[in-house]
């Protein structure tokens, strides 16, 4: 596939991770994230092993660390929230330099920070190595209800169309003298959201007509299913299985 239609999160490549079947990668992500979330927060060694698993897959994928880290910025709101927890948590409290922090809050912060970062990292890695249509196809093959996949597909398809309409509205406003500094643009832009909603709704109606015209009867057509061999499933799910082993050992050890 050419890189011309890639989305912003995708990193073009031909690594074994890129080539793995999307349904295997989706299930591996789900398994890995579940294992990370179920790991007791105080088993610090378990989290370093989880991180090691993630970094191994990252190395195999050939996605550059810079690219990976810049996409991981989506994690920042969680980090900020986590940093707040020690200061607002309940007693008992301990002194940490000039601050008095809640011990429960501190553990909560670590828990949130570690799990959110590992989960976001794994998701970023999936997005970096899988094209959107393949992801959607993978969801279908995992028997996710087709109407849900269709909704996700339409969102991806029309996000740019609607963002384009918003951009043109902004340009038209600028052209007629609107000062685009932050607070000044908030009001007219918010007002244009209503118009944008109506336009998107009308577009939805026309798209529905276009679907009816081509024989749509309430169900998205099936896509061909290329089966994945048992061996490939096991290799593909190895990171998730490793994370599960780490999680179970951590639960037993504590």
């Amino acid at each position: 596939m050419s890189g011309t239609h890639a989305h912003a999160l995708h990193y073009h490549g031909h690594s074994p991770i890129h080539r793995a079947a999307p349904q295997v990668k989706l299930l591996a992500l789900l398994g890995y994230v579940t294992a990370v979330v179920a790991t007791p927060p105080l088993a610090f060694w378990a989290f370093s092993l989880h991180a090691l698993i993630l970094l191994t897959v990252l190395a195999l994928s050939g996605v550059p660390a810079r690219f990976f880290l810049s996409r991981l910025a989506i994690d920042i709101p969680f980090v900020l929230f986590a940093l707040l927890l020690p200061f607002v948590g309940v007693a008992p409290r301990a002194d940490l330099g000039p601050f008095s922090v809640s011990i429960a809050g501190l553990i909560g912060a670590w828990n949130l920070l570690a799990k959110a970062t590992l989960g976001a990292g794994a998701s970023v890695l999936l997005a970096a190595t899988t094209e959107v249509p393949d992801l959607l196809g993978g969801l279908v093959r995992l028997r996710v209800p087709r109407v849900l996949v269709a909704i996700a597909a339409f969102m991806v398809r029309y996000l740019e169309v609607i963002a384009g309409e918003l951009r043109r509205t902004r340009t038209a406003m600028t052209a007629r003298g609107l000062d685009l500094s932050w607070l000044a643009q908030a009001r007219p832009l918010a007002a244009s959201a209503g118009a944008l909603f109506v336009r998107s709704y009308e577009r939805g109606e026309r798209v529905h007509q276009a679907m009816l015209a081509r024989g749509y009867q309430g169900e998205m057509p099936a896509v061909s299913r290329r089966p994945v061999s048992g061996g490939r499933w096991i290799i593909g799910l190895a990171p998730a299985l490793a994370a599960a082993v780490v999680m179970v050992s951590a639960r037993i050890a504590l």
Partner: protein, 253 residues
């Protein structure tokens, strides 16, 4: 190829606005006909009737030997390929190939046969390379051609095109002329682009206020100044239909 017969079609919107006021229209097998008329004449509304998305309060539509009713709706939608004015409405899947496959898959084509049909349709419009691209990353001309491929893929016998030259640059427009001229199917083309109508369609109809008000050779309709003026139709500056040879019915590119 198939024919189209419309008799006494009437339709009003729920608020009472009458849009179709007794439309009578015939297109014969293999013909290419232009449907002209000012904005608000009811052209797009008429097109939505051809695929049964809107249903008339009175009148009948026949595609070939088949009357449009609840029972035949599915077969009618297979026979009639409607290409919408805005390709962003027509192309709704995440890749071009998936979009072209949408129609045939709905009509029960699957597996390797589906892949073959998709490839043939894209080949017919000369855009096989676009199969894996996302529709929103295509140029205007490419989107238009892929839109046409989506209806060719269901082997539509009657192609209905709504403003196919809108938003095309002159080169894209010329390629579209060549593409449409080379297709076998019966064609009904709604357009404001009068030179385009003259180039492609030997016959034209003018629609105004919900009725067909004129029907004849495109060249003589365009040359009738009084008729054109009455129906808010205007030729581009400097364009004189008298200087142009009338197109023949079965011209191929």
């Amino acid at each position: 190829m198939t024919s189209l017969h419309i008799r006494g079609l009437r339709f009003a919107f729920p608020d009472g606005t009458r849009v179709l006021d007794g439309v009578d229209l015939d297109v014969t097998d293999g013909e290419r006909v232009a449907l002209l008329g000012p904005n608000g004449a009811g052209k797009t509304t008429l097109l939505l009737h051809l695929i049964g998305v809107l249903r008339a309060s009175e009148g009948s539509i026949k595609v070939g030997d088949l009357e449009l009713d609840d029972e035949n709706l599915r077969e009618i939608r297979r026979r009639v390929g409607l290409v919408f004015q805005d390709p962003d409405d027509q192309l709704f899947m995440s890749t071009v190939a998936a979009d072209v496959a949408f129609g045939p898959a709905n009509f029960g084509v699957e597996g390797p046969e589906l892949e073959r049909v998709v490839e043939m349709a894209l080949q017919a419009v000369g855009e096989s390379d676009l199969a894996d691209r996302a529709p929103h990353h295509l140029s205007g001309g490419e989107r238009r051609k892929v839109s046409i491929a989506t209806v060719l893929a269901v082997r539509s016998e009657l192609l209905v095109l709504d403003e196919p030259t809108s938003n095309l640059d002159p080169a894209g427009r010329r390629e579209l002329v060549q593409l449409l001229a080379g297709l076998e199917a019966t064609q009904l083309i709604v357009t404001h682009d009068l030179p385009f109508a003259l180039e492609l369609c030997p016959r034209a109809m003018i629609m105004n206020r919900g009725r067909i008000v004129a029907d004849g050779a495109t060249i003589s309709l365009l040359a009738d100044r009084a008729l054109m003026h009455r129906n808010r139709l205007e030729l581009p500056y400097g364009f004189d239909p008298a200087n142009i040879a009338a197109p023949s019915q079965n011209r191929k590119s």
